[in-house]
């Protein structure tokens, strides 16, 4: 399946290669570079590129291209999904997935890649199995290894590999047993010029951090499970229980994992927690444009809208801006024409605004499209869909775990057309 993997950085250097079958010359990446040149933006490189003898499937994450070389028919999503899993694993191991981190830990990276694929077919991608095979590098462990001469590599087959619950290793022990769940919902919306909602939907995830001793069996039930329209589960969730009772019953993996992602049914009206008043005009013939933006909260159920960040890609004709924020800071990059305004918290009494002028290229005609405004925000302690966890029970172990649940609403792809 996957023949080789090349890691290419933003400047086009191949800084790591790994082959699972016989060696494929790195010159195969020339086809990739060609496609990269043709694409105007880094994101526009097509994920699947055919070459005379191979196929290149690539993903772009953290400004690194992960290019897999394929020789014969394989579902492209299979490869894409795997590559993303590789990135996730790196992130898990090194905290960040950057060129420097990969270069620093090249041996661990190589050991990981060796375990993740055998002959191009995924072998172990489950993070807890990998962690038993290859221990993540920490400063402490490096020290200990130097002194004792022990290694980072496990000698035994990971316990998860053979069990019916491959995602959990046995013999987990904690002094403080705790299980935290974060219900995070994201609002994807497109708001049109007049402020009416064109499309809005809520996507949610439940991320869990479970640190429990032994083999706990958890059940999580919701007050209003009907809200969940389409769900996808971590493999640990028992699908039949969900189908029958709408209860999440699972033996959790150890540590952090995504338990569930869901989509709130589109029938429900989505509350839009912020509104934007905007007045962005370019006048014909003049080299000045007006920029006027005010944000305000609505339908927030009394919760504060925090960490608001507004960004907008201004038209190419804009040379510079002279704006005045009522709060927060704004930056404008004259090269990329990206305007960002870090607003912070919205105070309902004194609405934040950003007003001023834009100077346009002299003689250039007026841009025909007004920029789109992207907004990010966070609202703590609220799930905008109204989803509520009813209770969490633990079976199979005797101790009493500490349980916690947190709700948060965020903006996903929240765009305002102007």
């Amino acid at each position: 399946m996957i023949h080789s993997l090349f890691l290419i950085n933003a400047s086009g250097d191949i800084f790591l290669e790994k082959h699972w079958k016989s060696v494929v010359s790195r010159s195969v990446c020339d086809y990739f570079f060609e496609a990269q040149e043709r694409a105007t933006e880094p994101e526009n490189v097509p994920p699947v590129i055919p070459t005379p003898h191979h196929y290149l499937i690539s993903v772009l994450r953290h400004r690194i291209y992960f290019v897999a070389v394929i020789q014969s028919e394989v579902p492209p999503l299979f490869v894409i999904e795997f590559l993303h899993r590789v990135v996730d694993t790196f992130q898990d191991y090194f905290g960040v997935c950057t060129e420097a981190a990969i270069k620093d830990n090249v041996v661990v990276v190589y050991e990981l890649l060796e375990e993740m694929l055998d002959n191009g077919f995924p072998l172990a991608t489950e993070s807890n199995i990998l962690k038993e095979l290859i221990k993540p590098p920490t400063i402490l462990r490096t020290m200990v290894n130097t002194i004792t001469g022990s290694t980072n590599v496990g000698e035994q087959l990971p316990t998860g590999q053979l069990s019916v619950v491959p995602w959990r290793r046995t013999g987990v022990k904690y002094t403080n047993n705790e299980a935290y769940f974060d219900v995070v919902e994201e609002i994807d919306a497109i708001i049109d010029k007049s402020g009416s909602t064109i499309t809005a939907e809520i996507q949610g995830v439940i991320d869990a951090c479970v640190k429990l001793t032994g083999m706990p069996d958890l059940t999580l039930s919701f007050m209003n499970p009907r809200l969940l329209d389409d769900v996808s589960f971590h493999p640990c969730v028992r699908f039949k229980r969900w189908e029958a009772e709408r209860i999440l019953s699972f033996i959790p993996p150890d540590g952090n994992f995504r338990l569930l992602s869901y989509h709130v049914s589109s029938q429900n009206l989505v509350a839009i927690p912020v509104y934007v008043k905007h007045n962005i005009t370019f006048r014909e013939g003049s080299s000045q444009g007006r920029f006027d933006l005010t944000l305000g909260p609505k339908q927030t159920m009394g919760k504060a809208v925090e960490s608001v960040l507004v960004s907008s890609q201004l038209p190419r004709g804009v040379l510079n801006t002279n704006l005045n924020p009522s709060q927060g800071t704004y930056t404008f990059d004259p090269v990329t024409k990206l305007l960002t305004w870090d607003v912070g918290k919205i105070n309902p009494q004194k609405l934040p605004s950003l007003k001023g002028t834009m100077s346009l290229q002299a003689g250039a005609s007026k841009p025909d499209e007004n920029p789109t405004i992207n907004i990010q925000f966070k609202i703590q302690q609220m799930a905008i869909s109204g989803l509520k966890v009813n209770r969490l029970d633990m079976y199979g172990e005797k101790y009493k775990p500490f349980k916690g649940i947190k709700y948060m609403t965020k903006a996903g792809k929240f765009q305002v057309r102007t």
């Binding site: 191949i14 028919e73 492209p76 041996v107 053979l162 499309t199």
Partner: protein, 1110 residues
């Protein structure tokens, strides 16, 4: 730096080593240090020294640097001899790194690589499965042809390894060996065949991958494993799922007939109603069609559906394509939501998913129409994502939603991303041609765009307008005039060419403007692009033919210019046109037809989606993504006209678990049962549900084979019972006198023959008139233990449903024990036992012994120690059940139970321990990899709950199972009995909730008695309801079957065929429950008379459901 400390310790390290260490790859930004070749070379020298040193840590460090070199693509092959020496190192990390090195360079240094082989051969025998597996991995990854035989041997051995992990590795090794030496194909196929039979979920994915790589055409290998793969699918790791699903898609296409035959009926509108409907309803819909889906086909669809909820996008996509290619058309829409969900994922995932949706949406708009808004474009999307979304929106456009879509398109046209804006204009053009209502609107909109400032937008508009005008030129002179007006401002060649073409084509409609345009073109001809020049020549020719007076000179001028153009294409065209239009002696006949040739009416171009013919490729494949046939692409063949023999998939289902004591020998069976048995139950149920009138074809193998197994068990039990009689008689013979033994035996032999005949007769009889079984039974029950035993066994063998073999079998074993035990209390009789045995036949049946005997015959499941035959009041005659449906319920899932799983069913036998208890049989299975000890029942809730526990199971081996029986006093309520199932280490809370029908015991009575009793239970004690029955179920047999399947009651013989009566007593309090059912056509009146009104209402509800369903 951790290593520096090390070096300092080691005082004698050469300075060179230290220098090397300074720029070790583990430090950031060292890449530059390796830039120079000379430096590289020198480093390698140091590495060699380090590798040959005796210090383990030095070696490890050297290897880490070597791996760093490999990772950056530097050549480290010259270190091979130094590295390969370390292959036998004790240090596992060092060893692993050596493996990495070996796999990378063995191909180049074949001779040296051979040095390492013996190490691997040794490791293949290691007791540690992990070491065995990694040895095989590396051995098979060394691409050295000489070791092919060694690899082959290793693979064969590993394929039979006890550890599934090693077997998995061997499946991977198969592919490696095959790519190294395709000659080995035949032998490898044998290994694949063997591994396909493997029941481990770990192996399944890998071996199917090997199958796909080595012998994808050997579909015959799949037959026997098809059902197993379907059932295992949910538990296979996600990557394996993808491979298995795509293989099964191909398989299904060759084995089943098309479910799309009546699809003409299902048009888009119909589909919407199905969209929300549950799978059950859809199935009902299916039934009304003459097409009956092969149950195996259904099995595949059903077992893949939950995987739509997978977090792995590749799995979801593969299920979606499976549904697309295999499911009946109206079921395909179940995948929609999941596919739309994937759009939230990474950019690359979106890209592939959108491509597939684009192909799907061409054929089936309705599927994605409700999700139209999910395809709205955001300014932050990448361009290729935008264009794909546009494509889909265009595909989804119809009369109803076109206005929304066009409004959306208006925004897109103004996008800063001009390539995307251009694509939008094309999309508008497509909408305009597809939906005639909006053609004019679109056209006007496009004309407005002609005044746009951006050139690409204008150009694209012109091109699209040109195409649109071609479809209806007559009404659009104004547009053509407008275009002529803006012609000067347009610089994009394609757009200019399009306008020129339009002028030429419709020159008769704009007779004044066209020559003027030509005049302008003549001026700028030399400066134009080739494509514009060609169209200019074209325009000139057409004008010459229609309006030669005005344009003759112009045309000649242009033709002269063209004649000396640099481009040979233009020169060619000019020459051709001149010959065609300008009459001369040489031009001949063609000249006459010039007008007809040039001004022929031209068909309008069809604006089609670029995804139109993508569906020739299987969805989700690389070939589909690229729209080119990729190497190794396997065509998805068409459905066969006639389905190949479905029986090839039949597998001999192993006998269901019936061991009393755990037995290791049957682990395989236990295992197959453990995970999926409930699935199979479901399947069977469904098979019988959906197969109305066609049960023969839909009865799956499991039912047929299990029925055969029940036959087997029947004959077995007969044998056993005769053996039994022998034993008892001989036993008793012994106790009386040894000398009589021979005669006893011979006599009992004769007896046996007689009995056998009788048994057979009886069986036949029973088959014919099942309802009277109860009566006849009680009559003959007096015949003594031997007779009883045999009759009951005959009964169970003849009557039980397929599944009954499960409980009809183990009883027998105990039966004789019970009988022996039972004989103990009757001490006085004992000496004469033998005589009585012989004479019993002549005895008249003793009615008093009837209940007792019933107990004995049905107390089969108890364990011996627990045997306490309390003297029960026998005022009612309890009979053995006449119908034994065994519904198995799950008590403890193996996931919850850490490997211990438990299932229970109600054997419908009177409980041995206490008459007020309901007998429950629990099958415990150990699916973990270690044995479980001391399985017993712990605390119960409520504490007052009266449970007779089974004896502690001391030890349950891995993958073994054991069936135990227990008694629970439910006190005639359906409240669940909660208790703990404990092993040595763990406790699991479980609960048994009985169906109300299980709280009854059948009893026999005559019709008169029934009526008399019923008379006493009127008023408050009577509950009745009218039921609409399915027409198929009005026959006597089916009604009885239905009723008996719900409730454990006895049949009361009835004088009228439309009147059914059943009688039973509640187990705990012994209250009578009388059931009568009067059938009139398809309606029926069901009356229940009992003091227990709760029981009555619940029973009524259950029966109503059962009868209405049948």
């Amino acid at each position: 730096m951790s290593t520096s400390a090390l070096y300092n310790d080691q005082g004698g390290a050469e300075p060179a080593v230290e220098a090397a260490q300074e720029s070790a790859p583990t430090s950031a930004g060292s890449a530059a240090a390796f830039g120079l070749f000379s430096a590289d070379f020198k480093k390698n020298e140091d590495l060699k020294e380090m590798l040959e040193s005796s210090k383990e840590s030095l070696k490890l460090d050297a290897m880490k640097r070597v791996v760093g070199l490999i990772a950056r693509g530097k050549n480290a092959s010259e270190l091979f001899p130094a590295v390969v020496k370390n292959v036998a190192s004790k240090n596992i990390e060092l060893k692993k790194l050596v493996y990495v090195y070996l796999v990378r360079y063995a191909e180049e240094q074949q001779d040296l690589a051979l040095l390492s082989i013996s190490t691997f051969q040794r490791a293949l025998k290691d007791p540690n499965q992990f070491i065995r597996a990694s040895a095989l991995r590396v051995l098979s990854s060394i691409r050295v042809p000489i070791i092919v035989p060694i690899m082959m041997l290793a693979i064969k051995e590993a394929a039979a390894d006890l550890s599934p992990y090693v077997r998995k590795t061997s499946a991977h090794a198969i592919q490696k060996l095959y790519s190294l030496d395709p000659e080995q194909k035949e032998q490898l196929i044998e290994v694949i065949e063997k591994l396909l039979k493997d029941k481990s979920t770990l192996v399944a994915g890998s071996v199917v991958m090997a199958f796909e790589e080595v012998c994808p055409d050997r579909i015959d290998l799949i037959h026997k494993n098809y059902r197993k793969l379907c059932n295992l699918l949910v538990d296979v790791e996600e990557w394996g799922q993808v491979v298995i699903i795509s293989m099964l898609t191909r398989y299904a296409r060759t084995q089943f007939v098309s479910p799309w035959q009546q699809d003409a009926v299902f048009d888009e509108n119909n589909e919407k109603t199905f969209y929300e409907s549950d799978s059950e309803e859809r199935k009902d819909q299916m039934e009304s069609k003459p097409y009956i889906m092969d149950p195996d086909h259904r099995l595949l669809l059903r077992n893949t559906k939950p995987l739509l909820q997978s977090r792995n996008t590749a799995v979801v996509m593969s299920v979606a394509q499976l549904y697309w290619h295999l499911a009946p058309k109206h079921e395909i829409s179940v995948v929609t939501k999941s596919l739309v969900r994937l759009l939230r994922s990474h950019r690359e995932v979106q890209f592939v998913v959108l491509q597939n949706i684009a192909t799907m949406s061409i054929q089936r708009k309705g599927m994605f129409e409700p999700f139209m808004k999910s395809f709205y474009v955001r300014s932050t999307d990448a361009t290729h994502i935008k264009t794909l979304k546009l494509e889909i929106l265009t595909n989804l456009a119809n009369e109803a939603n076109i206005s929304t879509i066009l409004r959306e398109f208006q925004t897109y046209v103004k996008s800063q991303d001009k390539a995307f804006a251009a694509a939008t204009i094309q999309a508008i053009g497509r909408c305009a041609t597809n939906i005639t209502e909006v053609t004019d609107t679109c056209l006007n909109g496009l004309v407005l765009l002609l005044s746009n400032r951006d050139e690409t937008v204008v150009a694209e508009s012109v091109v699209v307008i040109k195409k649109l005008l071609q479809t209806q030129p007559s009404q659009h002179c104004d547009i053509i005039k407008h275009m002529a007006k803006i012609f000067d401002n347009i610089t994009v060649p394609m757009a200019r060419a399009s306008i020129l073409w339009l002028m030429g084509e419709y020159c008769e409609r704009v007779p004044k403007i066209a020559p003027d345009v030509l005049r302008k073109m003549a001026k700028t001809f030399t400066a134009e692009e080739d494509i514009v020049k060609l169209q200019t020549v074209n325009l000139a020719a057409k004008l010459y033919l229609t309006n030669s007076k005005q344009t003759k000179l112009l045309t000649q001028y242009i033709l002269n210019l063209g004649k000396y153009d640099q481009n040979y294409d233009i020169r060619d065209r000019t020459r051709f046109i001149r010959q065609l239009i300008v009459p001369s002696e040489k031009s001949g006949a063609l000249n006459k037809y010039a007008r007809r040739i040039l001004l022929a009416p031209k068909p309008a171009p069809v604006l089609e989606s670029s995804f139109k013919d993508r569906d020739r490729y299987q969805l989700g494949t690389l070939s589909h993504s690229l729209n080119i046939k990729a190497t190794g692409y396997q065509e998805l063949c068409d459905w066969p006209a006639v389905a190949p023999d479905p029986s090839v998939r039949n597998v001999e289902v192993p006998q269901p678990v019936k061991e009393w004591a755990p037995s290791v020998g049957k682990t395989k069976q236990a295992k197959s049962d453990k995970f999926y048995s409930d699935d199979e139950d479901e399947k069977e149920e469904e098979g019988s549900d959906s197969g109305t009138g066609n049960s023969s074809s839909s009865s799956s193998s499991s039912s047929s084979s299990s029925s055969s197994s029940s036959e087997e068990s029947g004959s077995e039990s007969e044998e056993e019972s005769s053996e039994e009689s022998e034993k008892t008689s001989s036993d008793s013979g012994k106790s009386s006198s040894g000398s009589e033994e021979s005669s006893t035996e011979s006599e009992s032999d004769q007896k046996k023959k007689k009995k056998k005949k009788k048994n057979i007769k009886k069986t036949l009889q029973k088959r014919n008139k099942q309802p009277t079984v109860a009566d006849s039974d009680s009559d003959e029950n007096g015949n003594g233990p031997v007779k009883r035993a045999s009759s009951s066994s005959a009964e169970s063998s003849s009557e039980t449903d397929s599944e009954d073999s499960l409980d009809s079998d183990p009883p027998k074993v105990q039966q004789n024990k019970n009988i022996q035990v039972k004989s103990k209390p009757k001490v006085e009789k004992k000496p004469k036992n033998e005589v009585s045995l012989l004479d019993l036949d002549d005895f008249s049946p003793a009615p008093t012994s009837a209940p007792n005997s019933a107990y004995v015959s049905s107390s089969l499941l108890s364990d011996l120690e627990g045997l306490s035959l309390s003297n029960v009041s026998t005022s009612f005659q309890v009979t053995t059940p006449t119908f034994g449906p065994v519904k198995t319920y799950e008590l403890l899932h193996h996931m919850t139970g850490k490997g211990l799983s438990a299932k229970y069913h109600f054997p419908r036998q009177p409980c041995l321990y206490q008459p007020s208890m309901v007998a429950v049989q629990v099958t415990l299975t150990n699916s973990s990899d270690h044995s479980l000890e001391e399985i017993h029942i712990g605390g119960r809730n409520p504490a007052s709950l009266n449970i007779h526990c089974f004896n502690t199971v001391e030890r349950l081996e891995s993958e073994a199972s054991v069936t135990v029986s227990m008694g629970i006093d439910f006190s005639d309520s359906t409240q669940a009995a909660n208790f703990q199932l404990c092993t040595k280490e763990d406790q699991f809370n479980v609960s048994i909730q009985p169906a109300v029908g299980e709280l009854l015991m059948p009893c026999t009575m005559t019709e008169q008695d029934f009526c008399k009793e019923q008379g006493k239970l009127l008023g408050m004690n009577e509950t009745s309801a009218t039921i609409t029955m399915a027409t198929a179920s009005t026959s006597v047999q089916t009604v009885r079957k239905q009723v008996l399947s719900v409730a454990n009651v006895g049949v009361v013989s009835s004088s009228q065929s439309t009147f059914h009566r059943f009688a039973g007593r509640t187990v705990s309090s012994g209250s009578l429950v009388l059931l009568s059912l009067e059938v009139k056509d398809s309606a029926a009146v069901l009356t229940i008379n009992t003091e227990k009104s709760v029981v009555a209402s619940m029973l009524l509800r259950d029966l109503k459901q059962a009868l209405a369903q049948a």
